[in-house]
């Protein structure tokens, strides 16, 4: 067993080998390409969408795919292709901001209490358990219904609730690393506490947090689109896949194209994130097989 922190030694230029490892796996390659395409699409979709996403045309109501409107039109006569192209922007924006924030605050608290330990830590873990035992949708809906929908409420709400499970993960990882030989070795070498935390603990816990963040991202996206589907996410006429599926569901028996396009958009993004997260976990050598579902 090596007596110095494995990841610290490779810290220089670690990004490139990890990326290479991810891209060497077919699942990682597909995942990263999907995520990259979706981010690119979110950036350029306003300029490539063929029609205005909120332009209503009663003549086109629920019309099937045609030469002018490739994917048909929805129940208000809006172009489905334009709305599908732009349907991921809000979701990516909200989850893209909330995920790193959640991992940061959850990770900070988790590492801190993992280091402090003792009775404070014990009490905190009971509170975390208590929060985790409440269904996510109930916690979030209560806040959203009270304070209103919109990005200003959704981002803090998602950040708060998705940071709580991160506390647990970061704390467990801290406990795990602290007991390793290289930490003992650093202590024996006479390194200061700060230096051990900074140079031995953090680089190793960060690996776990990165994988956790990638997984949280896909769960958060799931939560966001479910909220939109239930009518608590984005407000119309903003195009969003969850909301589009919910709107088009009622007309599914005679206009199924309205459901299929957003379903493909949402599924490819979530599958892409999951495949990338899996590949990242394997590249960093973190076993996620034992991970329980949300």
């Amino acid at each position: 067993m090596t007596l110095s922190s494995a990841s610290y030694q490779q810290e220089k230029g670690r990004f490139v080998p990890v990326m290479k490892d991810i891209l060497a796996r077919p699942s990682g390659r597909i995942g990263l390409i999907l995520v990259f395409l979706h981010i690119l699409l979110a950036l350029v979709s306003p300029s490539i969408a063929p029609y205005d996403f909120k332009l209503q045309n009663s003549a086109l109501m629920l019309s099937p795919p045609s030469a002018e409107h490739w994917l048909g039109a929805d129940h208000l006569g809006r172009d489905i292709l334009s709305r599908t192209l732009m349907g991921g922007r809000e979701a990516l924006l909200v989850t893209g901001i909330a995920t790193p924030l959640a991992v940061m605050w959850g990770g900070f608290i988790g590492i801190l209490f993992g280091l402090v330990g003792g009775r404070v830590d014990e009490v905190l873990m009971r509170v975390v358990d208590a929060f985790l035992s409440l269904p996510w949708i109930l916690k979030m809906l209560v806040l959203i219904v009270t304070f209103g929908t919109g990005i200003g409420v959704l981002i803090p709400t998602l950040t708060f609730f998705y940071g709580i499970p991160v506390i647990r993960v970061a704390r467990a990882a801290t406990h795990d690393i602290i007991a390793r030989d290289f930490v003992w070795a650093a202590k024996a070498r006479g390194h200061s506490r700060i230096s051990i935390i900074w140079r031995e603990l953090l680089p190793n816990v960060l690996d776990t947090l990165m994988v956790e963040g990638a997984m949280r991202w896909s769960w958060m996206l799931l939560a966001f689109s479910s909220l939109s589907f239930l009518g608590f996410g984005v407000s119309p006429p903003t195009p969003d896949w969850g909301l589009m599926i919910s709107d088009a569901r009622g007309f599914m028996s005679f206009a199924p194209w309205g459901v299929i396009a957003p379903v493909i958009g949402l599924s490819t993004l979530i599958i892409g994130i999951n495949l990338s997260a899996d590949a990242l976990a394997k590249a960093l050598g973190i076993d996620r097989a034992q991970k329980a579902p949300m």
Binding site: P135, I137, S226, F229, R249, M252, P256, V263, S267, P293
Partner: protein, 320 residues
């Protein structure tokens, strides 16, 4: 061992207490109270508000009301809904029964299937059955429930016309009346839960089959299937208990989206409806029930794992 069991049970109790505290103080901290929400649409003036608060006993300190609420909850009396007339236990009772029915049906279809698929794909790792099952599992785990539900309605109910796509039975109807409407939500739920359990079982079967004692058994010449059934599976299925427990807890409390999609009158839809109507007493009660179920199911799983696994049992004993 006994000490460990008692400790686990006590910790579960503490968690439920903290949950009730979080629920109560969370609702207290929200702007407005039951009266402003109930009377809000009538533009209530101060006098009516004061009268309403007096009627609903809202003038007493929060600690008193918390004590009363928890006492009631322990004895099964959840108090009155926001309209001040309906008893929460009657509203919640029917819905809880329906949620249990849905969860029971999904479990009896999903768990055996998941164990079977998990063992098959673990034993034939990276072969065709494993590749098909694992790919399907990734889809089932990642795609949002409302997407898979919508697609299944489209295919099974609209295009093929095999199953009814929506539940029209009322909440108070007896369980038998929910058939065959319940089948499609059951299929979706078991599809999702099957994926989680299957992945877990698969990786644990792979671990166990690679372990030393299985190799030893092979070298000793134990027939393959006897080895699988007698030596490998009992150990490989142990870790599945916890995943099964989490899935059960999820089934009993978190299937809001599925219930909305299929219009199923369970606890999840009651939760959404009461949140939308700001019927906070009902929301509090549901939160407490669901959290208690979650804690109990996880506790049961932990205890079961401890009892079933001699290694864990002795590990705890050695620690003390």
């Amino acid at each position: 061992m006994l000490f460990m069991l008692i400790r686990r049970v006590l910790l579960g109790g503490v968690t439920v207490c903290i949950v009730s505290l979080i629920i109560f103080s969370g609702v207290e901290m929200l702007p407005g109270d039951a009266c402003t929400q109930f009377l809000g649409e009538y533009q209530a003036d101060d006098e009516i508000l004061a009268q309403c608060r007096k009627d609903l006993d809202l003038n007493r300190p929060a600690i008193d009301r918390f004590a009363e609420w928890t006492q009631g909850a322990v004895s099964g009396d959840l108090g009155l809904a926001a309209d001040g007339k309906t008893k929460i236990s009657t509203i919640v009772g029917d819905r809880l029964k329906n949620s249990l029915l849905l969860a029971f049906c999904a479990m009896s279809l999903g768990i055996p299937l998941a164990l079977l698929l998990g063992v098959i794909s673990g034993l034939w790792r990276d072969r065709l059955p494993d590749i098909i099952a694992s790919t399907l599992a990734i889809f089932a785990m990642t795609i949002p429930e409302f997407v898979s539900a919508t697609l299944l309605i489209l295919v099974l109910s609209i295009w093929l016309g095999w199953l009814p796509g929506i539940v029209l039975t009322s909440a108070a109807a007896p369980a038998s009346e929910f058939f065959p409407e319940i089948l499609l939500p059951v299929i979706v739920l078991s599809f999702v839960m099957c994926a989680h359990i299957m992945r877990m079982v698969r990786s644990s079967v792979i671990d166990v089959m690679a372990s030393d004692y299985i190799q030893m058994a092979t070298l000793k010449g134990v027939p393959y299937w006897q080895m699988v059934f007698r030596h490998a599976l009992p150990n490989a299925l142990l870790p599945a208990i916890n995943v099964v427990a989490l899935t059960i807890a999820w089934l009993l409390g978190g299937v809001v989206v599925i219930e909305v999609v299929f219009n199923y009158p369970g606890l999840g839809r009651l939760m959404i409806d009461s949140i939308s109507d700001r019927n906070l007493p009902v929301v509090q009660s549901i939160a407490l029930i669901v959290a208690s179920i979650y804690v109990c199911v996880n506790l049961a799983a932990d205890l079961l794992t401890m009892i079933a696994n001699p290694k864990l049992r002795t590990m705890y004993m050695r620690k003390q």
